[in-house]
Symmetry: C2
Subunit: 165 residues, 2 copies
Amino acid sequence: MAEVQGGEALLFLTDEQLQQGIEAMFFAYQGFTADPDRILGTMAYGRAHHRAIHFIARKPGTTVTNLLNILGVTKQSLNRVLRTLVDDGLVDSRVGKVDKRERNLQLTPDGAALERQLSDAQRARMRAAYRAAGPGAVAGFRQVLEAMMDPDMRRRYQTLREAQS
Amino acid sequence: MAEVQGGEALLFLTDEQLQQGIEAMFFAYQGFTADPDRILGTMAYGRAHHRAIHFIARKPGTTVTNLLNILGVTKQSLNRVLRTLVDDGLVDSRVGKVDKRERNLQLTPDGAALERQLSDAQRARMRAAYRAAGPGAVAGFRQVLEAMMDPDMRRRYQTLREAQS
DNA sequence: CTTGGAAAGTCAACAAAGCTGACATAAGTT
DNA sequence: AACTTATGTCAGCTTTGTTGACTTTCCAAG
């Protein structure tokens, strides 16, 4: 009873196919975070610190509010993380030039070193997965992920893409 | 400096491409969990309950140890979740027939109803993403995710796939 | 048939990381 | 001068993970 197809080829999707996609997301995300988690486990940091470091590295000089929007957590939650990173000398928080209410965040050399260590590990896994899946798969992967995002997040994701070359 | 290619076409991957893949995973996972989280937020349950319910529904009669391996958490952590589900009459835990030390877990009618509510929401999003991305993209999506898993998890994922038709 | 080990459950204590609500301060904006 | 925005902080709570210690049950090997 799974032979009929939609208007476009292969767009008939059984619940079983969707279920497998859901489980693939779950297991893949475990792998996705496994390497950074292992590294962070040896320090006093966790996944939340990784995320902050990642996006500060990605957009140096970004503000707290911007980070808040990207991460989708509360000010209090982010602040706890950010404060330890600043105190430990991994992140530099300086008063904004134009708007002095804002804080411009960037990594210190120590912060950049940790960022590199974390993202090297994560990129290595991503690279291996891309290689194993092949070039055609990569485009599809990205398309499905993008379509799965909430519209707000998709906008932020695309903004990040454009910000880089 | 990005001209050289690997043995197979397009397998030269810039750090920027990999970085975008990483961010796509992050934002997509937010979307992936958003709908169930919203539903669960109205009850006394969280994501951990959802995961337990999902895999019990998926493999009725599964044991605690098996669930432990799939979820990758500690016995104590799972037990807390499982106990509330059993106490609330959503999960039925019965002594194993062959090995009486084991507990065979399955959803009660109430549990199945919640499971359906949660997975309907999640499947709807997955279906929309698949449709938006198109049939070719779906295969690539699955291939990359599978390649990103830890070997253990990949095995469990494939086992789950085979278990169903 | 005893003993060793596996499966499951439980208690206690703790940590990471999220949340709400309330409030303070500084600095733009109207 | 009044309003709003950006940030930071205090306090308290929840969920979900962790270790470690211990018990009960029960299969299986000697």
